[in-house]
Amino acid sequence: MLEKADQLFILLRNWIVGFLPAGWQAAAGVVLGVIGIVAVFPGLFAITTVLERKGLGRMQNRIGPNRTGPFGILQPIADAIKSLTKEDIVPLNADAVVHFLAPVFLVVVVFMGFAVLPVGRNMVLVDMDASLLFYFAMGASTEVSIFMAGWSSRNKYSLLGAMRAVAQMISYEVPLLLSSVVVVMMTGSLSLVKIVEAQNRYTWGLPHWYIFTPWGCAAFVMYAIAATAETNRSPFDLPEGESELVAGYFTEYSGFKFALFFLGEYLGMLSISGLGTTLFLGGWSAPLAALNWVPSWIWFFSKVMLSIVVLIWVRGTLPRLRQDQLMNFAWKFVLPMTLLDLMVAALWRFLGDGWARWVVCSAILVIVYVAAGRAGMRGKHFGPRTYRYAE
């Protein structure tokens, strides 16, 4: 019974595909999987928008939207109707073809990233040998679409926003990749399915998730920082900061195209949270061996939504980073820490099993982190401001 609940969607797909002739079954299975992805993740996107607005509101001592439906849960429908019925303005001088293709390309590329995430046991759309590489390839392609959006608007400020966004995304791509490479190194495979299966083991009831190891925890923190920067989320949202650059690279977009950009950004957030869950939080595996009766896809989506909640929480807390501050942070702090983490992970493997490796690896990471932090903060005063007035 529980097996059935766990494999519910696989059984459903097999049942539907059973109605078709044998030659068409494989393709039909894939199409059904695609339909599932296209239905579920935009639904999660709608929930995320409500969660974000209500959550941010409560954190800022106010209520979020509460007039559309009970507790504002029908707000995404209102937003959808608004974006669909708004006039689609294309500036006269804008490059119409590229202006149209940019949001389309973004959404296509982001959806492709979902194809390799293992949503549950046996529930991955495409099981490739190098699926992590595919995911990062798709992530890198989003930068092209952002550049296309900023350039085609023929607007200095859009172009500036696009340049800043692309520079930020490129800067944080390297820590993102390196922190994932630590996981690949310890698992020995680029396949996301194998990475989750490697974490699906339990010792004394506790799981072997990579976040529970010193190098995994450090890698997770750096992955989280890089992921926040990759999706242009606060505190790294200068390219789209509403108070800074109007709307950055999508200033000139209105109506449905703006909705597509919005969709692309939030789907990117869900997608990268999904990858983080797969790499560090054990994907679809349960937190305790005793809880294995809960279907695996429920665990996956709970962990993804938890990551989203943390992202929203961070957005409500931190002020925006300036462009040079965030790039300094990427190249001068996060990147060296990821390289150190790679070496610590190798040390972890060489020290063999036992408690010694826990102590040594944690000690190295913590000491270097604190020392680097102190060194970086030297010379900066963070007390109350002192003023000098003219006499």
């Binding site: 959550g55 409560r58 954190m59 800022q60 001592n61 106010r62 209520i63 509460n66 929480w313 961070v314 409500g316 807390t317 931190l318 982190y369 604190v370 680097a372 932090g373 102190r374 970086g376 903060m377 963070f382």
Partner: protein, 222 residues
């Protein structure tokens, strides 16, 4: 340690989030129009005319002296005097305004009309939900619209209203005393012409003389 501030900030926002469900201090939103913050006593929006008693025409304090019309900076008051007279609160016959229009879209709520009115006839209202779809006529308030009772004034500005009432009662008492003194003097003059004119006349005349200078400053102060 690097990142300490971030963690403290995250704790603070978490407190905000959790606290907003339980304490009013962490959720300061007032969901207008279902909930309203009570207006302060000194709030002022647009002027209104006070009337005493129940009949708004008979009890209206305004005597159409047109001081507020002249003093109003954006000139939003328009007054037309009446041809006849009606008795005011002390019994004296006064003219009253046949037309008293305030253009509320022009009025800037400066309260100068209230400050200069010698008869405590015009005061500031606190009603602000005056939206209308008629841009020109809907915001031109006439005499009838502006007339509100003294009880209403007590409701919206209690301390001011009691103060004004006390002042008006004092003036009324003074005027009555003056009138009584005048009638007593006339009666004394008419009733006792032969017997004891000096002491009898001295006392009322002294009283009248006392009363006259007393009422003169009062009349000059008004």
């Amino acid at each position: 340690m690097l990142g300490e501030g971030i963690l403290k900030g995250l704790a603070e926002t978490a407190k905000n989030f959790a606290g907003s469900f339980v304490s009013a201090e962490r959720l300061t939103t007032v969901e207008y129009p279902e909930q309203r913050i009570p207006t302060a006593e000194n709030a002022r929006v647009f002027p209104f005319l006070i009337y005493d008693g129940t009949d708004w025409e008979a009890g209206m304090r305004c005597v159409a002296c047109q001081i507020c019309e002249k003093e109003c900076p954006p000139k939003c008051i328009y007054i037309e005097k009446s041809k006849d007279k009606k008795p005011d609160f002390v019994g004296k016959m006064q003219i009253y305004p046949a037309k008293f229009d305030i253009d509320v879209s022009v009025c800037m709520s400066c309260q100068i009309c209230v400050e200069v009115c010698p008869f405590e006839a015009i005061k500031m209202d606190t009603e602000f939900e005056l939206s209308t779809t008629d841009r020109f006529g809907g915001l031109l308030f006439d005499r009838k619209h502006l007339a509100k009772s003294n009880e209403y004034y007590h409701e919206i500005h209690p301390t001011e209203a009691t103060e004004v009432d006390a002042r008006l009662a004092e003036e009324k008492a003074k005027a009555e005393a003056k009138a009584k003194a005048a009638t007593q003097a006339a009666a004394a003059k008419a009733g006792a012409p032969a017997s004891g004119p000096a002491p009898g006349a001295a006392a009322p005349t002294a009283k009248a003389a006392e009363a006259l200078p007393a009422s003169k400053p009062a009349g000059g102060g008004e």
